[in-house]
């Protein structure tokens, strides 16, 4: 590991993002819009908004960073810059860590903006500390980045990469317990839900919203962290110095 190389990569990725103000505006603006929409949608059932508002806030970065990372990495492969990087004294871990840091920073900005809106103007409240929602959002972003990195290896074009979003992200959102309580699912769906990392990410957010930061919450955080590390390791395995 070289800190110099890691930060060089992180700064370069952030510089590229800064060059693309429209994407930045979308990354921050879209979740704000959706959170507002949710508030208006549940105007008659304010308790429902209180129930799903915080978990959604914490899950947005997962979706965004999955997409952003998979497209960025795909471009890196297609343009030949990845091949150049593989001929340079840059460790795979340095590259991945650099990406992780850059997207965690972006996720922090996104989470801060959506939190300010949700906890401020929209009147969202959580029993647990609000900063925990923000910290979980950044953690979920790293998980999304790691998964995006891994799945981008299976896409040849940007069209394919975009299709991995509904394929990988939607089932996890449907099964994480947000729409249907996990106890009410058919057994096989419940098992499937058990195997998906977003289930634990949602559970940790739900515990924060309810103010029950217990052992179960700690276990959730551990599973999300472990899944992110596993996905990063799988992603590293897709980065080959020698290709056919």
């Amino acid at each position: 590991m070289s800190l110099q190389a890691t930060f060089a990569v992180a700064e370069r990725v952030l510089l590229q993002l800064r060059r693309d103000p429209r994407t930045l505006a979308l990354v921050v603006g879209v979740p704000c819009l959706l959170e507002t929409l949710l508030k208006e949608l549940f105007e008659a059932q304010p308790r429902l908004f209180q129930h799903v508002g915080a978990p959604l806030l914490g899950l947005f970065p997962f979706v965004t960073m999955f997409l952003v990372t998979s497209i960025t990495m795909l471009r890196e492969r297609v343009s030949g810059t990845l091949e150049r990087l593989m001929t340079l004294p840059l460790g795979k871990l340095d590259l991945l860590a650099g990406y992780g840091i850059a997207f965690a920073v972006l996720a922090a900005v996104q989470a801060a903006a959506v939190s300010a809106l949700a906890f401020g103007a929209l009147g969202l409240d959580t029993a647990g500390p609000r900063w925990v929602v923000g910290a979980l959002a950044v953690g979920n972003a790293v998980l999304g980045s790691a998964l995006g990195l891994f799945f981008s290896a299976f896409a040849r074009t940007e069209f394919q990469a975009v299709q991995f979003m509904p394929a990988v992200v939607f089932p996890q959102i449907l099964l994480c317990g947000l729409f249907v309580a996990r106890g009410a699912m058919a057994t096989w769906l419940r098992w499937l839900s058990d195997a998906l990392p977003l289930t634990y990410a949602y559970d940790a957010l739900a515990h924060t919203a309810a103010g029950t930061l217990d052992a179960r919450f700690a276990a959730d955080v551990g599973v999300v962290g472990g899944a992110a590390i596993l996905a990063l390791a799988l992603g590293a395995a897709t980065l080959r110095r020698r290709t056919a």
């Binding site: 030949g80 810059t81 150049r84």
Partner: protein, 235 residues
């Protein structure tokens, strides 16, 4: 002394034999031209030398180490055919980034920009540059680490004649400093500018000699004719 030694190299891509038992040495301190028609295996040979190509058989030794050895990553500079730089960053931002990876500071970056005559474009975003300018950004990136071996895949494509002449002068200047250059081209008139030539056809070595030796042995006037004569002789 050979900078690169290739023995019995075989590369198979997608079921096709791209390189079929290639054996050759590339001398140190010279500009070696790698010539042959498109699809003859030039790029594959270059990728093998820089260590990013999976090989089926044979050995490749670069500066005394096996190709792809981590210690070579600071000693070998590689310029791919596609520009392989970040289109959304400026010239300077690109080179600063690649420079940080090979330990080159701001002065080295400025020198590299001057070497490829891009001083006026340094603050422009790469996607807004012409193809030839983008290729020069890529070349500058390959120069940053002050490598002992430069592997350049068609570095002069699409450049105006003046720039092409300047770059060939640069290549010889670098060779005079003791560096080894392997430069591919499919333009025969560039062959004249090389110290020594390697001609490839369908993954095999067609000939290896200096431009004048080749002309003499085939009794031809220009290298296009030489190439034809060699192909006919090989049957």
């Amino acid at each position: 002394m050979a900078a690169v030694r290739v023995e019995g190299l075989e590369v198979v891509r997608g079921g096709n034999r791209i390189l079929a038992g290639l054996t050759h040495s590339i001398p140190a301190g010279l500009v070696t031209g790698l010539l042959g028609p498109s699809g003859c295996g030039k790029t594959t040979l270059m990728r093998t030398i820089v260590g990013v190509q999976r090989i089926a058989a044979g050995t490749v030794t670069v500066l005394g180490l096996p190709a792809g050895d981590p210690r070579l990553r600071v000693r070998v500079g590689y310029m791919t055919q596609a520009a392989a730089v970040y289109a959304d960053l400026t010239v300077r931002e690109n080179l600063t980034f690649f420079g940080r990876l090979v330990g080159a500071g701001p002065q080295t970056v400025d020198d590299a920009i001057a070497t490829v005559s891009l001083e006026n474009e340094r603050s422009r975003v790469v996607s807004r540059l012409s193809g030839g300018q983008q290729a020069r950004v890529s070349l500058a990136a390959a120069l940053l680490g002050d490598p002992d071996l430069l592997v350049l895949d068609e570095p002069t494509v699409g450049l105006d004649p003046l720039l092409r002449r300047d770059l060939w002068l640069l290549f010889h200047e670098l060779a005079a400093q003791g560096k080894t250059l392997l430069v591919s081209s499919h333009v025969m008139d560039e062959a004249e500018r090389c110290d020594t030539l390697v001609l490839l056809r369908e993954g095999r070595l067609l000939a290896a000699a200096t431009p004048s030796e080749l002309r003499r042995s085939t009794a031809t006037e220009d290298l296009d004719q030489t190439f034809l004569a060699l192909v006919e002789r090989a049957g």
